[in-house]
């Protein structure tokens, strides 16, 4: 049984709300996947952005939803694809450079998390991870409760190991992309996701 710091989990949930992170609790990874697909089903089709004058990278703005799962294992990917394909979704693991106009959902699994800033850490040396989590309109992260530590100092060893080994691209993500650059009005979704969902997985 994984070691869960209940206080840290509560703190994470408490700190997530003010930074526009939506949290759902699910029993396992399969349910987290199902949740991501449900989110995709309910959302408006992706608002594609031209990558040059009048030119889109992929997709025709029609009904085919695109979901990218860039850091799932082979087995996890199969489960996800089996759940998603019957819904008519395009499920991808790579090839994000062909989707610079945007995709509907990115689903990723987290490496660790920091409760007091509602931060999820995702190792992103893979270009696909970096692109999918920026190009998606909605990013859904599966995070195990046991991965949540109270403060950033508590994940120091975890980070140090990754960085010592290198090369690495380690991402702290603490909400959807946001700006307050015009009249200091908080606006969500500048360059990256418009929504960030975290599926908190037991264990």
């Amino acid at each position: 049984m994984a070691n869960i710091d209940k206080e840290a989990v509560d703190l994470f949930q408490q700190k997530a709300a003010p930074v526009s992170i939506k949290i759902v609790e699910v029993p396992g990874l399969d349910e987290a996947m199902a949740y991501a697909l449900e989110v995709c089903e309910k959302k408006q089709p992706c608002e594609l952005i031209p990558v040059a004058e009048g030119k889109f990278s992929a997709g025709d703005g029609g009904d085919a939803r695109v979901v990218c799962v860039p850091n799932l294992s082979d087995k996890e990917y199969k489960t996800f694809a089996d759940l998603g394909q019957p819904k008519g979704f395009t499920i991808l693991r790579k090839g994000m450079r062909s989707y610079l106009s945007g995709i509907d959902v990115a689903f990723t699994t987290a490496g660790a998390a920091i409760a007091d800033t509602a931060t999820t850490i995702i190792e992103s040396i893979s270009e696909e991870v970096r692109l999918a989590t920026m190009l998606a309109e909605i990013h859904v992260i599966a995070l195990k409760k046991s991965q949540i530590k109270k403060s950033s100092y508590d994940v120091e060893d975890y980070l140090q190991k990754i960085m010592e080994k290198g090369p690495a691209y380690t991402a702290f993500i603490s909400g959807p992309s946001r700006t307050a650059d015009i009249e200091r009005v908080l606006t969500i979704g500048v360059h990256g996701p418009l929504e960030l969902h975290i599926a908190l997985v037991e264990g």
């Binding site: 700190k15 990754i162 290198g166 603490s174 946001r178 360059h191 990256g192």
Partner: protein
């Protein structure tokens, strides 16, 4: 970007800002909201302790910066990154242009970098025919408008959504509505194409971690991630002061930086790039990554004992966020590239004396920046030091030389003050204010009435006062008068004498004392600052006094906090320390030392509001005591922004009357709104400013020193 060639031109620029009603409103709203949000976001951490830790760690890093550089370079290169070092801005630009040429890059996207602004990188790149697009929303807006940033974190804070809509309409060739969420969408759309087609990305860096060769970047928009992911080539450009030993140090700074910058617990994204990451378009499937470390005077600053702490700066912008002058004039008038208090300093070091000369004068010395600084930098002290250097290099203005000469000679100074009372007679019309001074002496001073010099200064009354005072008591207290109370408001001192002598103090007033020296220190007159300090230290023999009490917050905090520094290289350093230890302000002396409580006062129904003097609340950390005393003697009516500067700032109000007057107006509007009948402050300078303003506004408030209220209500 402040570009005035002369002080007159600078005043003209300042007036433009003061007349810009959108700017004024935007910055006012920001100043008030920031302070409230900052309090909330720092509530769950020990701010002061953390800032001290950051300051210490930064100092330690600066001590071994060369080692950190060598280590960072080795570790980053081990992981496939090329590390360059540029001694000057020109060299840095050259290196980056060369990287672009070698990799055949034509289109460049940038995420925010103050260092790139510092070295005017865009200018250099465009000079090579390269296409450059900023991708941080605020930076992009000002790039399209050909402006410089007005805030280090929110570069376009000076613009309205209407102005942004106009700019975007021009850029896109179609009419854009002034709806913020739609405007953000325009940026999302327009910039995506730039991201997709760029071959080089340039970012800044918040951290360069030596032991793993990691580059750390904080952004909210996520543009830093796209900039460092989409193009084939990524160049991170940063000052060498961003080198830090390990991840722990970086994580510590992140606890404070976003809180200080925008009152966020953390920025939405923090990206840690250790080595060159995957890139599918390059033949070896690795991104081409370069780090350019910019020196541009930083190594020289390291050797500058008095100013090197400015290199601790983490670029949070808090010093601008809390600056009352920034709030009035905005970043274009309060910085060259770097903005706010740190901007005044860095302009001198990075962009030269010519650009700094006027700017460094525009600090009112309220210490709000020092109080909010993420890295515990004593910003006002460094600004004073720079003024001193400018004086030494280029000679002092006549007014400053005159003041120094006079202050260095107490007898001359006091004779002049005495002479003043005769000279002013035609001007006062027998009132307590100077009313008819010729315009040449009163330029821009119409916002307040200036007080008249008293007929009989405190020093001439002392012998008489002393005769009836008790000679027995528990504490021997020396009164330090300061110029304003001795020669303008002796009644304030008499009130204090009443309170102190009734509560066990044996008082004395050494006649050899003179001005505390703060005015000459503010003007950068080093020698005069030394000699005034020495005079006062000699006047108060430590064997004769348990305490030195002053009713002037500025004298108190200056003598207590700065005398040892002023005399650091003088053989009287020990005496300065003894002196500083004995100095106390009136309010905290009355409560904390004499132990007076509400029992000692008759509480009246008089409604009293309070102005918290900068040098009392921030300079000395005295916050609760005066409010407690007011409530013991009367009905205390709290006002908004009690701790914001009244605009006096000593000679500042003469130098920048247009700003001083605005600050005073805002202050009195807040205080009058309490409906109180009386206003008290702990500082004769503030009383002078506030009373002068009330005289012009119709005396809705009676303005006095807290000692006067307490003396009246003393049982």
């Amino acid at each position: 970007m402040q570009s005035a060639k002369s002080m007159n031109e600078y005043h003209g620029e300042i007036q433009e800002s003061l007349d810009n009603s959108f700017l004024r409103q935007a910055l006012d709203k920001f100043a008030v909201a920031y302070k409230a949000n900052r309090l909330t976001i720092f509530a769950d951490i020990n701010e002061k302790e953390l800032i001290k830790e950051i300051a210490d760690a930064k100092d330690e890093s600066l001590d071994k910066l060369e080692d950190l550089y060598v280590q960072f370079k080795a570790e980053a290169e081990k992981r496939g990154v090329q590390v360059h070092r540029a001694d000057t801005a020109a060299q840095a630009n050259e290196i980056i242009c060369k990287i672009a040429a070698e990799n055949n890059c034509k289109r460049i996207i940038k995420s925010k970098s103050m260092t790139a602004e510092e070295i005017h990188l865009n200018h250099a790149l465009e000079g090579e025919g390269l296409e450059v697009a900023e991708t941080d929303l605020g930076e992009w807006i000002i790039q399209l408008r050909h402006e410089g940033p007005t805030h280090m974190v929110m570069p376009a804070i000076h613009l309205s959504k209407g102005q942004v809509a106009d700019t975007f309409s021009d850029e896109t060739g179609k009419k854009q509505e002034s709806d913020i969420s739609l405007l953000v969408k325009v940026a999302r759309r327009e910039l995506r194409a730039k991201f997709a087609n760029a071959d080089m990305g340039i970012s800044g860096a918040n951290f360069l971690i030596a032991d793993t060769g990691t580059v750390g970047i904080c952004t909210n928009e996520g543009n830093g991630r796209l900039t460092s992911t989409l193009p084939r080539v990524h160049v991170a450009v940063a000052g060498i002061d961003k080198l830090t030993p390990n991840i722990h140090d970086a994580l510590r700074v992140i606890k404070v930086l976003p809180r200080s910058a925008t009152a966020q617990a953390i920025t939405t994204y923090v990206s840690w790039m250790t080595g060159s990451a995957e890139h599918s378009l390059n033949p070896d499937k690795r991104k081409i990554m370069h780090v350019v470390l910019v020196d541009n005077g930083r190594t020289a600053m390291l050797k500058d004992e008095l100013c090197r702490s400015a290199l601790r700066c983490v670029r949070c912008g808090a010093c601008a966020n809390v600056c009352p002058v920034y709030r009035l004039v905005g970043g274009h008038k309060m910085g060259y590239v770097y903005i706010g208090a740190i901007g005044l300093i860095l302009t001198y070091f990075f962009h030269g004396r010519e650009n700094a000369r006027n700017l460094v004068q525009n600090c009112i010395n309220c210490e709000a920046c020092k109080d909010a600084c993420s890295a515990g930098i004593d910003l006002p002290a460094i600004i004073h030091e720079i003024r001193a250097r400018l004086v030494e290099e280029e000679g002092a203005p006549l007014s400053s030389t005159l003041l120094s000469t006079v202050l260095e000679n107490r007898k001359l100074f006091h004779s002049l003050l005495r002479f003043g009372k005769f000279a002013q007679r035609p001007a006062t019309g027998g009132t307590k204010f100077i009313r008819h001074l010729p315009e040449v002496f009163m330029k821009g001073q119409g916002f307040r009435a200036l007080p008249a010099i008293t007929a009989k200064p405190f020093r001439d009354r002392w012998a008489e006062i002393k005769r009836i005072l008790p000679t027995e008591g528990k504490l021997r207290v020396g009164i330090f008068a300061g110029c304003a109370q001795d020669f303008i408001y002796p009644e304030q001192l008499e009130a204090a004498v009443k309170v102190l002598s009734a509560n066990g103090c044996i008082l004395d007033f050494p006649l050899e004392q003179s001005c505390c020296g703060l005015p000459v220190r503010m003007m950068g007159e080093r020698k005069a600052a030394e000699s005034t300090a020495i005079r006062n230290i000699r006047a108060f023999d430590p064997a004769r006094f348990d305490y030195i009490v002053t009713l002037c917050a500025s004298c108190a905090s200056y003598m207590k906090n700065t005398y040892t520094e002023v005399l650091e290289h003088h053989n009287m350093r020990t005496e300065a320390q003894q002196y500083a230890t004995r100095v106390r302000d009136f309010s905290s002396f009355v409560t904390d030392v004499l132990g007076l409580t509400e029992e000692n006062f008759t509480k009246s129904g008089e409604t009293v509001c309070y102005h918290s003097a900068c040098h009392l609340c921030r300079g000395l950390g005295v916050v609760k005591q005066p409010r407690y005393l007011i409530n013991a003697a009367a009905e205390y009516k709290p006002a908004p922004e009690e701790d914001v500067c009244c605009g006096f700032g000593g000679s500042y109000s003469m130098k920048f009357p247009e700003i001083s007057g605005q600050l005073l107006d805002m202050k009195l509007t807040n205080l009058e709104a309490t409906g109180a009948s009386t206003l008290v402050a702990d500082c004769p300078g503030c009383v002078m400013q506030l009373r002068g303003g009330e005289e012009k506004r119709g005396n809705k408030l009676k303005v006095e020193h807290i000692a006067e209220l307490l003396a009246r209500q003393l049982k």
